[in-house]
Symmetry: C2
Subunit: 347 residues, 2 copies
DNA sequence: TCAATATACTGAAACGTTACAGATTGCCAA
DNA sequence: TTGGCAATCTGTAACGTTTCAGTATATTGA
């Protein structure tokens, strides 16, 4: 009846992982037919298609990734590129979970590609592209003129950036509106009667540094407050550095009476510095801080916070890369997250 | 002279990624020879070996992972399996960096395999093993009788657990000595004159819950202090739950005058609860807490802390898995990290 | 009736690698 | 001289998949 004979690899098929060959043997079809039936190719009969898919489901067939990858070049991998020293801690875990959520019901795997302070940030990108290790890449710590984005754009590899660029090139991104955050923070402090404000900036060189500084400056002149320069620190500095320099700042004559901080960990240090200088939060100075986990209010109830959702960022970034891989227009895969209002302590 | 002719794929070799075939063509050798020369096989002449390796380095040859994987089954992948809801935040980022450090100069990639609360923790493991997606696996949230460890042991796939098991089976692990932590914490509190102690436990069911509880209990009887039961919370509970229940606890007549907490985030909530009840840290009650980043002292200077290094854990776990993959004895790949002393606030 | 065409299927080749089973050479002992 | 053997090297097949170029059968148009 069946002209095909049991082949040596399929005899012991009880234990081995099923392949297209196994399916072909079981259905009495050719591997080509099976392959096409599984991906709903048009030239396969409706009944055959159903039959193959049924058998495949029954025996738990899963395509061999190495086979697909070797043949097609498709890796089914998304790479998240992270700086091992400077990334915000909660950012790492939240963004990973955000990405995971989105790729959970796709064939994609998430690989984490780290690079260290000493390396050129372009190194890991070059590696990924040259070795064809991923179908899509997510990068953070985005710069206005970002060589990584330019490089990937040139090679045509889909990617998404956490944060925007400013190169006149269009690519997917997700960003938090830090201009809005900084300006709202200033307005809120002004509403509390604060007039001399300082800013604990994002890392110099990153795009959102510019956004933040601009939002801060614009709102300052809008409300008629003045800036107390505090350029000696950014949220990339160590806790100790931020703490001691904040204390120095707060001991000066023209110390600020309001501070805007761009990261929760930095805010802890800022508050410690304020108190080192013998001042009291909420009385001598108010602080507005971004946070990604809802912990700052436990720290000092006087703190004013704005929440940034990194998990959402992860999801959006994953959606963006997958969209690009899927053929959507890069320009349609950009999203901006609007900060909620400045939240005082509740209950 | 050379009997091999330029083949169609190698003519435009300027742009394409070099393969063994490219190297074979350039050196005038067969692909087999090239393959073996690159991996220092004994039957290759010393000069040939050097020549091949030189050319390979020059043109930046990198073995195609899909090719290797398809042929040998070796994935060069380590998978880190994480619970997307319950993992400690800093744990995720630190352990990833720890693992990264170790695998940086190996051919291994790190893939993150998440699973959610609703899933059977065995699901992701089954997936990894059935699809042969990784050469080694790292799991956390280890239980005394852990089905995942048993499963992988049965299938013979190398893995390492963060935390020990208690099944009479031997496998690589890295663990923090939570017995020592809890007992040291109790002794320290007793040294401060605290007599009625409560414990904010690890998640029930995990091995280190047992270790912690035992260390706590043993030290209690050693120093002659008593336990104030606080079984309504663990560090897996939400911040809000811990906070309100701590407040309830602290309003009772026989409230504790010392608390041991196993995670920094929980400690924030505990302190908030203490203060909700109108009590003062350091006066009415002392708290010893584990922490993985050095931030708790900024929170309240009265807090007593013990540091746990998750980055180290990541490195150790990676070393353990790689060791097992490399043929070392699983029993020789176990490590225990001893807690440092309880640290009071320093300037 | 015959050719043209659509439908449903198929084998062979290729992706890059490694393992197997030789093949060629030179050297030495007999 | 010859047989044996070590030292080097080589071609082929296979891993599991998709694509290319078909083949066989039924259906249609004239």
């Amino acid at each position: 009846m069946d002209r095909r004979s049991a082949e040596k690899d399929d005899e012991a098929s009880a234990k081995e992982r099923p392949t297209l060959k196994t399916l072909a043997f079981m259905t009495g079809l050719g591997v080509t037919t099976v392959s096409r039936a599984l991906k709903d190719a048009p030239e396969i009969g409706a009944e055959t298609r159903r039959r193959v898919q049924l058998v495949a489901k029954q025996i738990g067939y899963r395509p061999n990734r190495a086979g697909v990858r070797l043949r097609t070049g498709k890796t089914n991998v998304i790479s998240l590129v992270l700086n091992t020293e400077r990334e915000i801690m909660s950012f790492v875990s939240d963004i990973i979970y955000g990405v995971s959520e989105v790729i959970a019901d796709t064939p994609y795997h998430l690989i984490v590609t780290p690079y260290s302070r000493s390396q050129d940030p372009l190194d890991p990108i070059r590696y990924l592209v040259e070795t064809g290790s991923a179908d899509g890449v997510i990068i953070s710590r985005t710069q206005p003129n970002d060589p990584r984005a330019r490089y990937m754009l040139e090679r045509g590899i889909p990617f998404a950036t956490h944060g925007r660029t400013d190169m006149g090139l269009v690519h997917p991104y997700h960003d938090f509106d830090n201009y809005a955050f900084a300006s709202e923070a200033v307005r809120h402090l002004a509403g509390l009667g604060r007039r001399r404000l300082a800013l604990v900036t994002p890392p110099v060189g990153l795009t959102y540094y510019d956004h933040t500084v601009n939002g801060f400056a614009d709102a300052l002149s809008e409300v008629g407050a003045s800036e107390v320069p505090f350029n000696t620190v950014s949220i990339d500095h160590t806790i100790e550095q931020i703490r001691t320099r904040t204390a120095q700042l707060m001991r000066r004559d023209n110390r600020p009476d309001g501070i805007v901080s761009c990261a929760a960990a930095a805010t802890l240090a800022v508050v410690a510095g304020i108190e080192d200088a013998g001042l009291k939060l909420g009385r001598d100075v108010d602080v507005v801080s971004k946070q990604s986990s809802e912990l700052l209010h436990l720290f000092r109830r006087e703190l004013l916070v704005v929440n940034e959702n990194f998990r959402l960022a992860g999801s959006e970034l994953a959606r963006a890369v997958l969209g690009w891989i899927g053929g959507k227009e890069p320009g349609s895969l950009q999203s901006l997250s609007t900060p909620g209002e400045v939240l005082p302590y509740r209950g």
